[in-house]
């Protein structure tokens, strides 16, 4: 009986939190319009959220591309199709690995930082202080960070894919002797702008919205003490990673369905 009780309580509190997260999302959207006139607030956050995530994204992208070059070559060469290495690397990165791995890195680097920052602002009464100064913290603090995340994520994913392709080229052409012309021309012929590039972009935009949304909500909803902030930061990374992987499956299924 106790078990059912606690199960019910857990379900109810989860639904309640989902509901307040949804309301919070609309609150952010409603307050985003005010930022059109003060876009510098968003630009500052793009710098904080996006630029500081760039190094980890570039380094990871390079290595993922290099691994793809190695693995792809070893499989393709068995079928005498090593010339298609460029196509394989590009498609893997653009459609799947670029958006997904970038989103996971983004959650770990930028998402956790956003949650911790907002949570600490709440714990040190900075958000309450703003309210008492008649400044809406959702407009001044949350919405710029949310928009910055949504803007940064697709750009970071694009850079991840670009440097990954260079990494694949480095290994495939530089080390393993694939013909450079074939590497690029196969890629040029095989990659479709709408089906491959745009699908990846859509994924990265959706991941940007979800990860940043989870990050700012967890921070804003954190219990305002050190323990609460650390738990919220933890939640951000766990929930957004799970959400990214789950949504990736759903979106891939939808996108391949109509090809």
């Amino acid at each position: 009986m106790k078990m059912f009780q606690s199960l019910g309580a857990a379900v109810l509190s989860t639904i309640e939190r989902l509901g307040s997260a949804a309301l919070f999302f609309f609150d952010i959207l409603g307050n985003s319009w005010a930022l059109v006139k003060r876009f510098y607030l968003v630009t500052q956050q793009v710098y904080a959220v996006g630029v500081f995530t760039l190094p980890i994204v570039l380094v990871s992208g390079l290595f993922v591309g290099m691994v793809l070059g190695l693995q792809g070559y070893n499989t393709l060469v068995k079928f005498g199709a090593a010339q298609s290495l460029g196509l394989l690397v590009a498609l893997s990165l653009l459609r799947e690995l670029g958006p997904v791995v970038t989103a996971l890195l983004f959650a770990g680097r930028a998402g956790s930082a956003l949650t911790a920052e907002i949570g600490l602002m709440k714990a040190t009464e900075q958000l309450a202080g703003m309210e008492m100064m008649a400044v809406n913290p959702v407009m001044r603090v949350i919405a710029p960070r949310f928009l910055a995340g949504v803007i940064s994520m697709p750009l970071l994913a694009a850079m991840f894919s670009a440097i990954g392709i260079l990494g694949g080229h480095l290994v495939g052409v530089g080390l393993l002797g694939v013909d450079s012309g074939a590497f690029w021309s196969q890629m040029q012929n095989g990659v479709d702008f709408r089906d491959d590039v745009m699908n990846g972009v859509i994924k990265s935009v959706v991941f940007g919205v979800v990860v940043t949304w989870i990050a700012v909500f967890e921070g804003y909803d954190a219990v305002p003490n050190s323990e609460g902030v650390s738990r919220a930061t933890n939640h951000t990374v766990v929930y957004s990673s799970l959400a990214v992987l789950g949504l990736d499956f759903i979106m891939t299924a939808l996108m391949l369905g109509d090809v």
């Binding site: 040190t124 309450a128 202080g129 703003m130 309210e131 008492m132 100064m133 008649a134």
Partner: protein
């Protein structure tokens, strides 16, 4: 003292709390409380930790809603205001938080400039002078380029005070302004509270459990406990009160109406009863 009482009656009260009850979850924080904050005076609200002092400030600021009763600020009932009216009212209220609540990513200058930048379109030169004047008031004009983490607790509170007065509010609420300060900083804050009240005529509400400091600077004081008023009057009247509730608080007695021991069952039974074996 009679002069103060007379002018209080002339000006009336800026804040009126009428029959306010407030619950947090199932716990009653304020129980049918009625009190008035006279215009242009320093009013202290004293009481032990968790007696609802800070909740009272949040009710006046509209950050909490009472479950019953009216909170009148300058004639407007705060719980009835919509968000736009509430924000208009808050522009005329300042609040000093316990730890200053400075924005950590902005310098001292930008922190004080923050409300002006948010609410007005002043030219940069005017804004600069205004901010420097307010920083001069709290004696920190030279600290304008420091970041919040470089300030001591007392300095942070003075910067926060400069920020609270930069829009020339009609009242300031001080939430535990003396907590955690060394004696010198405490004296500085007390002097500032008094001066701002005398020079600018700002109505001040000081929430504190520091009896000595709060008595020194206030014109009138309320003592809260269990969500009710235990005693009120000028600080001198409270000092001379014979009510046991007031006496225990003013003298800092460990035992009295507020018991020393947390409610528990019989000591001997607890030690040697069935569970003790």
């Amino acid at each position: 003292m009679s002069q103060i009482a007379a002018s209080t009656n002339d000006d009336g009260n800026l804040v009126e709390i009428r029959d306010v009850s407030f619950q947090y979850g199932t716990r009653t924080i304020l129980d049918n409380l009625t009190l008035g904050i006279p215009r242009g005076r320093v009013t202290a609200i004293m009481g032990g930790s968790g007696c609802g002092k800070t909740s009272l400030l949040n009710l006046i600021g509209g950050r909490l809603r009472p479950s019953r009763g009216q909170v009148l600020v300058d004639g407007q009932n705060v719980p009835d205001l919509n968000i736009r009216e509430l924000y208009q009212l808050r522009k005329r209220m300042g609040m000093l938080f316990q730890h200053g609540a400075l924005l950590t990513d902005l310098s001292v200058f930008e922190n004080v400039a923050f409300p002006i930048r948010e609410h007005t379109r002043l030219p940069e030169a005017v804004l600069r002078n205004l901010v420097l004047m307010k920083l001069q008031t709290v004696g920190l004009r030279g600290a304008r380029d420091l970041m919040p983490w470089e300030l001591s607790g007392g300095m942070a509170r003075r910067v926060a005070l400069a920020r609270a007065i930069v829009l020339e509010p009609m009242m300031i609420m001080y939430d535990e302004p003396f907590t955690g300060l060394d004696p010198i900083s405490m004296g500085v804050i007390a002097k500032l509270i008094r001066e701002l009240n005398q020079v600018l005529g700002i109505t001040s509400i000081v929430v504190s459990h520091d009896v000595a400091e709060a008595s020194l600077i206030s014109d009138y004081a309320y003592l809260l406990g269990n969500g009710r008023i235990l005693g009120q009057g000028t600080p001198t009247e409270l000092q001379q009160s014979t009510s046991p509730d007031v006496r225990q608080f003013m003298d800092g007695l460990p035992d009295g109406p507020v018991p020393y021991t947390y409610p528990a069952r019989n000591y001997l039974e607890d030690l040697f009863g069935e569970n003790g074996r």
